[in-house]
């Protein structure tokens, strides 16, 4: 599955239950809008690490990586140990 869609499905399921994944724009500001905060970051990081095999102990993590779906996707493509299919597109 396209990582952006998987990320949206996760965010919507966990934090925005009334929203359909396609309603969430790639650039919607997740931090300013209070969807993601310093504490909800941990479960998101754990989910990403699990799903995309990211070595979180060796990766620098910044709030800036979670500003939007697009930013999270960039974070995944930068840090995922296994190349994720479809990640290099667009």
């Amino acid at each position: 599955m396209d990582p952006s869609l998987a990320i949206k499905q996760y965010i919507v399921r966990e934090f925005l239950p009334d929203i359909a994944p396609e309603e969430l724009d790639d650039d919607y500001d997740l931090v300013d809008n209070g969807v993601v905060n310093s504490l909800s970051l941990l479960p998101i990081i754990n989910w990403l690490a699990d799903r995309y095999d990211i070595p979180i102990d060796d990766v620098d993590i910044s709030m800036n990586d979670f500003l939007s779906v697009a930013a999270i996707r960039r974070f995944v493509s930068r840090t995922a140990r296994e190349r994720v299919p479809a990640l290099s597109e667009n």
């Binding site: 934090f15 925005l16 239950p17 009334d18 929203i19 309603e23 969430l24 919607y28 500001d29 931090v31 300013d32 809008n33 209070g34 969807v35 905060n37 310093s38 504490l39 909800s40 970051l41 941990l42 993590i61 910044s62 709030m63 800036n64």
Partner: protein
């Protein structure tokens, strides 16, 4: 208490006597006292070039950076009152706040922006003399209340803190809170006054326990002040890895759980542990030193010079062992809110906190009124969030509840009934909240519904039922 020393005079003196010692560690930057002084002098020069009327306030947006600290020092040098708006404040709320404080210019990290002329007078022209810091209450209204602190009150407070926690040249003190918080009067300003080193936590990594522990160890931090949440993060990150260099641990702003209390002595084997009670209006007013074996922490006894009264519902002052609302007057406080007549009644601030005073004079916090909660250490009034949601054109009804949360303290859940299906969704409500609320007050979860909300027999939103429904769903 003897005559207090001027914060500004001490800062200038530090730059002269110990120019090369490190004042600030922020991210990759290490700024010496000479460096900080030079930045501040340059900033004061830029301010002077604006030619603002004497006594007119300016604002320094509290982004956590050395420039912000230097800008604050520039305001001190220029003798101007300055407002410290939170860096997280929405744009509408910021604009309104600046206008209400009568700010003539905004210093935003590296940028100095002159604001249009408007009629609001400076604090000095409104009966608040010699104001330096103007802090805002962390209340969740779109526009927080402004607390103008007299320079002398800040001088007295920083002297107390230096003396009480043994701050001196070279003492490294952790700064966890944003620069707009009153806590910074201790961990930033008392530290700099004493010639110590402020070790600032990067706001983006404030919930990363291993980063926090690494910073404390690498910079030899001796004094730590924070809401309990940070100690929870540290305790989880530092199993069997005690932080031996820390001498004083100040817990403030929230209840400390019994479990955390048990873990702290092993985490900080060389430290004295304290519970500190205070608020923006009065600054710190109570201190309790942990002796070991407590199941819950009292707030302790009033600090020297602090008057503390316990009153019943009619305002009658109670003597001896008693439970009631706490009224305090401190040597560190504001006279009242900016722009509100009369100041705090009789100079005493009504805390809104219910306390119990025991036979031995030790105070314990019993609770707050129902609508006040703490989210990640920031005070939020749930009723005010509810009012704001109700004011949305597509909202028919709204209820906001605080859900107890291990880490955040409380997380906010909102239920909003919309005018029609499709008229509103949670993304639109978040956009709406973002422009009007500090970030901590934006509900963590927003449920948009089409059915009427549960109500109590008196017709008020039934928050207990909403909470119960929420628990049953998850």
């Amino acid at each position: 208490m003897g005559r207090s020393r001027s914060l500004l005079a001490c800062l200038v003196e530090r730059a002269r006597v110990r120019p090369d010692s490190v004042a600030l560690v922020m991210g990759d930057e290490r700024v010496t006292y000479a460096g900080l002084h030079a930045m501040a002098v340059a900033g004061a020069g830029r301010l002077a070039a604006l030619g603002l009327p004497a006594g007119r306030a300016v604002a320094v947006r509290a982004v956590k950076s050395p420039r912000t600290v230097a800008s604050i020092m520039a305001c001190l040098l220029a003798g101007r009152p300055f407002l410290l708006p939170s860096a997280e404040l929405g744009e509408h709320a910021l604009e309104e706040l600046l206008a209400r404080a009568g700010c003539a210019a905004l210093l935003d990290d590296d940028e100095l922006r002159e604001l249009g002329p408007h009629g609001d007078a400076g604090p000095g022209e409104r009966g608040h003399e010699d104001v330096s810091f103007m802090l805002t209450t962390s209340g969740s209204t779109g526009v927080p209340k402004i607390v103008p602190l007299p320079a002398a009150a800040v001088d007295r407070f920083t002297d107390w803190a230096i003396d009480r926690f043994g701050l001196g040249p070279g003492t490294a003190v952790l700064n966890y809170a944003p620069l707009s918080f009153d806590l910074c009067l201790l961990d930033v300003w008392a530290t700099l006054k004493a010639g110590g080193t402020v070790v600032a936590v990067d706001a983006a990594r404030a919930s990363d326990g291993r980063y926090l522990a690494g910073l404390i160890e690498a910079e030899n931090v001796a004094v730590v002040q924070s809401v309990p949440m940070m100690y929870r993060l540290l305790a989880d990150a530092c199993r069997d890895r005690p932080l031996r260099g820390v001498r004083h641990v100040l817990m403030t702003g929230d209840k400390v759980s019994a479990r955390l209390l048990d873990e702290l002595p092993a985490l900080f084997p060389a430290a004295r542990l304290y519970n500190v009670y205070g608020c923006t209006e009065t600054n710190d007013s109570f201190l309790y030193e942990v002796t070991g074996g407590e199941r819950s922490l009292p707030i302790g006894r009033p600090l020297p010079g602090v008057e503390a009264l316990v009153v019943d519902e009619d305002g009658t002052v109670l003597d001896g062992p008693a439970t009631g609302e706490l009224l305090v007057r401190t040597p560190f406080q504001a006279a009242g809110y900016l722009g509100r007549e009369g100041g705090f009644g009789g100079g005493r601030f009504r805390s809104g906190d219910v306390v119990h005073r025991a036979e031995d004079g030790v105070f314990t916090l019993v609770g707050r009124n129902d609508f006040q909660v703490k989210v990640r250490g920031t005070r939020v009034n749930l009723a005010e969030v509810e009012h704001l949601l109700l004011a949305h054109e597509a909202a028919v009804d709204a209820a906001v509840v605080g859900v107890p949360d291990d880490l955040a303290g409380v997380r906010i859940h909102a239920v909003v009934r919309r005018t029609a299906p499709g008229a509103l969704n949670s993304l639109a409500l978040r956009d709406y909240c973002r422009a009007r609320l500090p970030r901590a007050a934006i509900p963590t979860t927003i449920q948009v519904v089409d059915d009427p909300l549960p109500v109590t027999p008196t017709g008020k939103p039934d928050r207990q039922t909403i909470l119960r429904n929420l628990r049953n769903r998850s």
